[in-house]
Amino acid sequence: MKILIKSGRVIDPANKIDGIMDLLVEDNKISKIARNIKPEADKIIAAENKMVLPGLVDMHVHLREPGREDKETVCSGTQAALRGGVTSLLAMPNTTPAVDSVGHLKILQEAIKKGSRANVFICAAITQDRCGQEINDLTSLKKEGVVAISDDGASVDSDAVMLKAFQRAKEEKLLVICHSEDKELSRQGVVNLGFTSTRLGLRGISAESEYKRVTRDITLAKETGARVHIAHVSCQESVEIISRAKKGGVKVTCETAPHYFAFNEAAVLGYDTNFKMNPPLRSKEDMLAIRKALGDGTIDVIASDHAPHTENEKDIEFERAECGVVGLETELAASITELVGNNLFSWEGLVRAMSLNPSRILGISKGTLSAGADADIIVVDPDKAWVVRKEDFLSKSQNSPFLGRSLKGYVEYTFCQGKVHKWNS
């Protein structure tokens, strides 16, 4: 089977390509990328005025399987991913049971084998049951295919345990992904600490609870030489700390999520729980700092932190509601609208942050359109505006902060390992 994607604007920063080109897919691989490829194919996709990009790589996704299949499954989550242009994702280990042993890993791998529609990579837990105490058997987990470790949703509080974890990660050449939060400081907070928490009468979460832990995690990475990736960076101080560490030669990378550059704490003022997440939406200054850090490359990656929750867990009193929002189906459009649309990002920058950089950080062979690479490709209409509506989600959950908003940028085709999905609004 040959499919020719014709005359689109092909962007592939790994190969320094940005221009109107044709792309030929043969079976599950990209076979050729050139100008004016002869239109001899089983199928031709006319891509004039469309962007042809490597499939997105989302390195922060909660698929909820096993354990909370009412929120999401591998099947529904990966369908949502494809719809949003995400062809590869990293599944976080805070499932029930947690991915903290080879036995538990096998459960997830089995579910992926049965239900996955996309390329799912696995992040294992650092400690047993993500309790921050006993470090898991990283040698075996690595051997069985995990590409990173994280206790995401929780931070390993003990400095001693985390030091040991970094040493082990260094030995196993595993990436450590840090949910950097000092719970002693964030306590039972539910919104950003400041005028918003005062105004709403809610407990606040200080920026300090994040950046103090970022400092610790980076210090341990520096001491051990392990690679650290800071998840969901939300505040200006964290950005500054990471920037200094990078300049100082520490092997640190980081990500943010679309809600941290699309919104700020003002969005919470109506107690809408679709704006409740951890870390919380920060101040306007923080939001602007996040945008700037994306622009200058301090923040390497945009990841969704896709966190599906049922209506029963969201449509309740703000303080009781679960933290987190879905993001797979809106992250590309949100980034195009907020970053490319506001000239904070070029298309090339967007592809780096959402595909090439996460691939490199995870050490997976994705994120490019090289001849011979897996045919993970998306065709995007950059100008098409669409309204985010509950009923259009493929995810099992619809807890999106973008509901009702008009976003620009529509994924028309997703190729995943050569398999084509066409999306209609």
Binding site: R187, Q188, L193, G194, F195, S197, T198, R199, L200, G201, L202, G204, G270, Y271, N312, D315, I316, E317, F318, E319, R320
Partner: protein, 315 residues
């Protein structure tokens, strides 16, 4: 002007004119409680449900009296253990009350924002009788009503609020209401009981009680809840009284006619001395009386507005 809101959720969202309308309506209802027969038929045939998720006597009774003086039928639901434990969500509870064809829910809830959330899911009126640390609009309205009655105006007054500002819905509602009506508000408390960025609400902040009393036309003294969750470093009770308690001695240094208010119940010897509570400056019991008029006004206005909204929808 006309009142167009089906709910009263807080004072933050109200305009100066809306605040004025409630106060004026309360003024006309105040006389009802002085009559031989303390009843008007304004809400005859309406059902008011007092839905209280937190123990409360004075606010609940005040709303009940207010509703009855308007001839409404009143049902009290006190779920001190909170129906959350029984498994019913707040929205379900609200919808059930709506299915009973009630007209107004008066709700007290321990979570901030609960009234806002409920109001989005029911078409009957919701009156916030206190939600978490967020707002307690009718308490602030009755405080403001009392002040206006005593001093003839709000604009230009200096009002100090003393006590646990951080955890106080009474403080927040008073700040919004008073500042909108042109008063200058000072909050006074130990540093740890002042919430972050409170200045952005348009108030002055001080830790010095004498400073707070100095030019004040009125001082509103909040109840200290020492039994609270132990999350903040609270001062010891006696220490608090020494540093922040209102005494006759302190009042001597203040304006001669300074008014002392308290939302009750008072901790005598902690927030203020008995001499102050029972003395000439105190308007604490008048506040209780005015609470009825203010709540009558609120119930009346939201019921009337909602009737209009529903009629427009069926037209």
């Amino acid at each position: 002007m006309n009142w167009a809101r089906k709910d009263l959720l807080g004072l933050e969202e109200l305009s100066k004119e809306e605040l004025g309308l409630i106060l004026a309506t309360a003024e006309s209802f105040k006389e009802v409680s002085t009559r031989e027969i303390k009843k008007v038929p304004a809400l005859r045939g309406k059902t008011v449900v007092n839905l209280f998720y937190e123990p409360s006597t004075r606010t609940r009774v005040s709303f009940e009296v207010a509703a009855k003086r308007l001839s409404a039928d009143v049902i009290n639901i006190a779920t001190e253990t909170s129906s959350v434990k029984k498994g019913e969500t707040l929205i379900d509870t609200g919808r059930n009350i709506e299915a009973l064809k009630a007209d107004i829910i008066v709700m007290r809830h321990n979570f901030s924002g609960a009234a806002v959330m409920l109001s989005r899911h029911v078409s009957l009126s919701v009156v916030n009788a206190g939600d978490g640390w967020h707002e307690h609009p009718t308490q602030a309205l009755l405080d403001i009503f009392t002040l206006k009655e005593k001093l003839g105006r709000i604009e230009g007054l200096n009002v100090s609020i003393v006590g646990d500002i951080a955890h106080s819905r009474v403080a927040r509602s008073n700040i919004w209401g008073l500042t909108k009506l042109g008063a200058r508000v000072t909050v006074c408390a130990p540093k740890l009981l002042i919430p972050p960025a409170i200045e952005e609400m348009g108030v002055n902040v001080t830790q010095d009680i004498d400073e707070a009393l100095k030019n004040a036309d009125a001082v509103n003294v909040l109840r200290m809840q020492f039994e609270r969750d132990g999350e903040t470093a609270f001062p010891k009770q006696l220490e608090y009284f020494k540093e922040f308690g209102i005494t006759m001695e302190r009042l001597k240094k203040a304006k001669k006619d300074i008014i002392v208010m308290h939302p009750g119940p008072i901790n005598r010897g902690i927030e203020m001395s008995s001499a102050v509570a029972d003395g000439a400056h105190s308007v604490i019991l008048e506040q209780v009386t005015n609470g009825i008029a203010v709540r009558m006004a609120v119930l009346f206005l939201v019921a009337q507005a909602n009737e209009k909204i529903k009629n427009e929808n069926t037209d």
